[in-house]
């Protein structure tokens, strides 16, 4: 039964449901008893996962389809009522438990008082533990500390997030007692799995893992394993168990989609959010995604090594300091694999360390700054009309600050839906072009229309918010369509394997040497219905991307995947995982850099190889008009630019993902420090610009309107006399984005813009593809065909100042179309350098290039900064365009003059750090 079936079956028809207050659901079970309450509770939780968090625009589709008729609601407390009365009660005290073998815990329930559960609930929880304990011990290992654990009823005051998480455990409740704080769940299934979860937390005793990725993640995976084990728990409805697990314990088949950097951190619930109520229409931050992803991540290990957690816990019990030693835990993780499967001690085909670093949810280091993540959910039923690829896209947007708090941000995003070619911007409907975000949550539900003659295709979703970008690949038309409404259960996208002439690209899925599926990849997307018991079980599968031609099959890429039960979505990127090694990438002193590879690690000291206490790292924040200095800087991602002051020459050795398709970089209004996310030089004709809901434009078209007319690279300056390395530098106009370097790009669009960097070749077509179908509002630009709009001046000269093996330049010019003031299409400002070597045209501002209206006589004031007294410098003037009858260069410090026509030079010895020259041009030709 689908979640909608459950919902409509029990929420509306079977049970009387009332909403006494926010987040409290009262269910009257007078006529239906426990079955109805159980179904209701699980339905609501599944509902929360799938629909309740969508905003109205996203749900309209379902409302119109008649499938949703109730207000959307995310309860975190469910009260059973019988003829309007609650079914709580209190009886005698009881202390019950199993035998007191070493490592056993005994549960203690209050029988009276505010922390007492109803008798029936106490009995139920105790029986859950009694029944599940052998399996719990097998999966998780026996409790680290024997003794009594109090189970307290915190239904009335447990935080919403903790209730959704399934209760929590305190090693010391303030009175020296170990305590489980647990709410009242009306559903036996929800109560069972959440109680197993909480007791497993108690199993960690007084020495829990320090980070939630281990503490909560291991427990959640173990809980999944326990409740799925036949006979491990009381007789429960397996469908409802799975439904409840899907709500809060696992992301099931969507792991690849949700594996995003924003999940990382040491704590799943930020301190400031622990007691904040969750509202309907919001997840209340990233915590739920973190809980679910952590369960799914560790479940991947359990699928190959069912006793892995038990073994890891054993190591920790022998060496308690490991709880706060992630590298040590990773080493022990590998040790466990060696012990449990010496013949092939890998997880998903990788060493434990390699696997671990690819799971963003297991990034235990904290990083600050803005974060955005996007979670897609395919919508597969009640499709009608042009529905071809319908997805709910939910965004979580927040900021982590140094205190560990997370602010639930509001804002607005204009999602960009790229078709397979990255040329056409798909506009499914006006309501999906804008995402309003409040309380960290926003959503849209676009339908990607049939544009490939009924064939599926890969849609790339870019979600820019401020200067953050989240991206997912979606297989439009590969899951369920109007023409083929039966939902497929194996689907996904392929990047990096375009078919060659005479070949087709296919995905082959096998398990234990047995073929499960062999299906075509069309326009980067694939989907098939397999629906066999073998496939739908949680197991290890091998997904290979092959190229099939007359000569047979060529395997391009194989990924080992430990899939959860049910569907499987895969984001297959052929050849993307790489290690980038560059000697002296960070030379001693100050330099500007960006990574052309998206690192697996988020923690800056790990990425750049400098200890946190010695790291000087900065990124300019145009919204605050100042630099963020580490540790306030965000995680290092590709496309970002940073300044670093390296204490010694440092090599770069970073593992991450490269891209074989264009990559978007989000810009805020003002100056943005960015880099090319592509590992090659990208010229501006390979960069397109997208603004709000607008058409993609060429870089040239955008100059002076969306972007400043010049972007700047950073050139390290002369060596500091004492440190012996450059501590300053020079900004110089750039014409292309070189990999590894950072650039200042100025965004003029008040709402910001997105730059799309296109590799020279890759898994996309470079010309516009034919449009088939009924795409509502196709927006396109052919990057090759739009001519530049650069304005050519009548006369232009380049001024170069050199000395100490460094040089800096600026431009002056004249044009018929120029004005005396700043003209964004002609003029360009210079970023100041804080002491760096720089020549600037001084006017109403500092110019890198100043073009004025044609006149018979014009004076340009040149200021050279960053000079070293006593050092000899040379100024070279070189006319590049047009002709000027007479040019005079005047040194205001010495009174020296130099006269020339097309060009010439002057040498001077600096007397101070900054000197002024005047270039007089005697009119344009």
């Amino acid at each position: 039964m689908t979640w909608r079936g459950i919902l409509c079956g029990c929420l509306v028809s079977w049970a009387s449901v009332s909403f006494a207050q926010t987040n409290v659901l009262r269910v009257d079970i007078s006529s239906r008893g426990g079955t109805a309450s159980s179904l209701t509770d699980n339905a609501v939780r599944a509902f929360a996962r799938n629909v309740a968090n969508l905003t109205r625009s996203s749900r309209n589709r379902m409302i119109q389809a008649g499938k949703v008729r109730t207000p959307f609601f995310m309860p975190t407390r469910v009260e059973l009522t019988h003829s309007g009365a609650t079914s709580r009660g209190a009886t005698s005290s009881q202390i019950r438990g199993l035998s007191r073998a070493p490592g056993d815990i005994t549960l203690q329930f209050d029988s009276t008082g505010s922390r007492a559960f109803p008798q029936s609930y106490r009995d139920f929880l105790q029986s859950v533990f009694d029944t599940a304990k052998p399996t719990m011990n097998a999966v998780f290992g026996s409790a680290a500390l024997s003794g009594v654990v109090r189970v307290a009823n915190f239904d009335a005051d447990i935080g919403d997030r903790d209730a959704v998480a399934g209760g929590y455990y305190l090693p010391d409740n303030g009175s020296g007692q170990r305590e489980i704080r647990f709410p009242v769940y009306s559903s036996n299934e929800a109560a069972t799995l959440n109680f197993v979860h909480t007791v497993l937390l108690a199993y960690q005793g007084a020495n829990p893992y320090v980070t939630d990725a281990f503490q909560e993640g291991l427990v959640r995976a173990a809980t999944i394993s326990v409740v799925r084990t036949a006979g491990a728990t009381l007789s429960l409805d397996p469908t409802l168990i799975e439904s409840a697990l899907s709500s809060t314990y696992t992301v099931n088949g969507y792991y690849d989609w949700y594996n995003q950097r924003a999940l990382g951190g040491s704590r799943f619930i930020a301190p400031n959010l622990r007691d904040v109520p969750i509202t309907q229409g919001s997840y209340g931050g990233p915590y739920l995604a973190r809980y679910r992803m952590s369960g799914s991540a560790w479940l991947k290990v359990l699928i190959e090594y069912p006793t892995f957690i038990s073994q890891l816990n054993t190591y920790v019990q022998l060496q308690p300091s490991l709880v706060n030693d992630v590298p040590g835990l990773i080493a022990k993780g590998q040790q466990a694999l060696n012990l449990l499967r010496a013949s092939d001690p890998t997880v998903e085909g990788m060493s434990f360390a390699e696997w671990f670093k690819r799971q963003f949810i297991l990034e235990t280091q904290d990083t600050n700054g803005l974060k955005v993540m996007i979670q897609p959910t395919p919508i597969d039923s009640n499709l009608s009309g042009p529905d071809f690829g319908v997805f709910a896209l939910e965004a979580t947007y927040f900021e982590r600050v140094s205190s560990g708090d997370e602010h639930l941000l509001s804002g607005r995003s204009y999602p960009i839906f790229w078709d397979f070619d990255f040329i056409n911007r798909i506009s499914p409907s006006a309501q999906d072009e804008r995402m309003d975000i409040a309380g960290s949550y926003g959503s849209v539900a676009p339908n990607f229309p049939d544009q490939q003659g009924g064939q599926p295709y890969r849609v790339t979703v870019d979600l820019p918010v401020q200067d953050q970008m989240a991206r997912v690949f979606l297989p439009a038309g590969a899951i369920a369509t109007v023409a083929n409404p039966v939902r497929r259960d194996f689907y996904g996208t392929v990047v990096g394997a375009p078919p060659t002439t005479g070949t087709t690209t296919r995905v082959i899925l096998t398990t234990a040497g047995t073929l499960i599926a062999d299906l075509p990849v069309t326009n980067g997307a694939f989907g098939a219905l397999i629906n066999t018991p073998t496939y739908r079980a949680a197991r290890t599968v091998f997904a290979s991307v092959i190229r099939r031609g007359a000569g047979g099959d060529t395997v391009l890429f194989t990924r080992v995947v430990n899939k959860d039960k049910g569907d499987l979505e895969l984001d297959l990127r052929v050849g993307a995982d790489q290690t980038l090694n560059v000697a002296s990438f960070f030379p001693k002193g100050v330099s500007a850099f960006g990574l052309p590879i998206d690192p697996f690690a988020s923690y800056a000291p790990d990425v750049v190889g400098v200890p946190a206490n010695a790291l000087l790292l900065a990124r300019f924040d145009p919204s605050k008009a100042r630099y963020s200095l580490y540790p306030d800087t965000e995680a290092i991602k590709y496309g970002d630019g940073f300044f670093i002051r390296a204490p010694v020459d440092l090599n770069l050795s970073v593992e991450g993902r490269t891209s074989l398709v264009p990559v978007g970089v989000a810009l805020r209004p003002g100056w943005n420090l960015i880099s090319t996310p592509i590992n090659e030089t990208v010229v501006t004709t390979k960069v397109s610009v997208v603004r709000t809901t607008g058409f993609p434009r060429t870089f040239a078209e955008s100059l002076g309107e969306d972007l400043g007319s010049t972007f700047f690279g950073y050139i390290r300056g002369a060596n500091d006399p004492f440190s012996g390395v450059p501590e300053t530098g020079t900004f110089s106009a750039a014409t292309a984005f070189d990999p590894g370097k950072a650039y200042f790009v100025r965004c003029l669009a008040p709402e910001g813009a997105t730059l799309l960097f296109q590799p020279s070749a890759g898994d996309f077509r470079s010309v516009r593809s034919p449009v088939v179908g009924n795409m509502a509002a196709q927006r396109s630009v052919n990057l090759q065909s739009v001519s530049s709009v650069t304005v050519i001046p009548t006369w232009r000269a380049k001024i170069t100042v050199s000395g100490l093996d460094r040089q800096t330049e600026c431009y002056v010019g004249m044009s018929r179309t120029a004005t005396r003031g700043f003209d964004p299409k002609l003029d360009s400002e210079i970023p100041p350098t804080s002491g760096g070597f720089q020549v600037t045209v001084v006017g109403d501002r500092g110019y890198y290039r100043e073009v004025r209206a044609n006149s018979s006589l014009e004076n340009f004031t040149l200021q050279v900064d960053g000079l070293r007294a006593g050092v000899k410098y040379t100024i070279v003037v070189n006319t590049e365009v047009g002709y000027a009858p007479r040019i005079n260069l005047h040194d205001k410090t010495t009174g020296q003059n130099a006269f020339f026509k097309r060009g010439g030079q002057m040498t001077f010895t600096a007397r101070q750090s900054s000197e002024i020259f005047v270039l007089t041009v005697g009119g344009a030709a």
Partner: protein, 291 residues
Amino acid sequence: MKAARWVLLTLIVLGAISCGGGGGGGGATSAQMSGRVLNVITGGSLNPAGQIQVGDARALTDLADGSFSLAVPAGTTSLTVDTRNSSFGVWVFTVPTVTGTTDVGDLWVGPEKVTVTGTVRDSTSNNPVANTTINFAGRTAVSNGIGVFALQNVAYATSSTASFAGITGSATATGYFLSSFTAGNNVAAAGVVTVDDILITPSTDSNPPSTPYNIFGKVSPSNLALGTTVTVSQGGTPFRQVAVGTDDRYYVWLPVGTYTFHFANGLHSVPDQTVTITQANQILQRDVTLN
């Protein structure tokens, strides 16, 4: 809300088409106002739904996302939100003049009302900027001659500031880029939340970003500043030297530690300054006057 906007827009367009050239008659011109009402405790919608009222026109906010849409007389400039929540009460918002279809944005309500104040400064000069329009949580204010603004009756919840801290406000002034800001970690004291200075950047910018630094300062008097060298030592060993620029300032980026700064310009100097950086994200200012 977006769907509603779309439908409404469609209806308006269809209505306009169907009306053709006929009509006329009295009555105020109708306009459509839409927006969202959000709970500052949760960051989400009100439950029970809030009631929006303009004159006799009423609408309830959406339970899921707090959105509303209401036909109002053109020219409407205020609305009332009855939260139907005893602790939140009734709120009155001044909104942009409603004409045609107008989105009035997010209107935040909560159990408390505070004043949000701050100063708008030019990022290039640090000078205050007057006449900057500040929008935050559905409230609007304009900075005065010294760049100070005060937004009255802003929704707040002492019990939970997570959503308040995430409300994104905007600052707009002629000749400047739109700038966004949040209250961040600033909380209310005596009913006032003072936000960090809002730095806005001229759209015809003459002073884009410099390179990073964490210690800076101004050297006075101005006629001695240019040409001054600043030598930074640690443990008696000089290891960095920077020059004072034409803005009379010096900038240096140093790791955590204690440093001695020596300033000299010919015969002019100042007693050495000791500066201690305890955190890499700390920014310190040390101004000196040469003698």
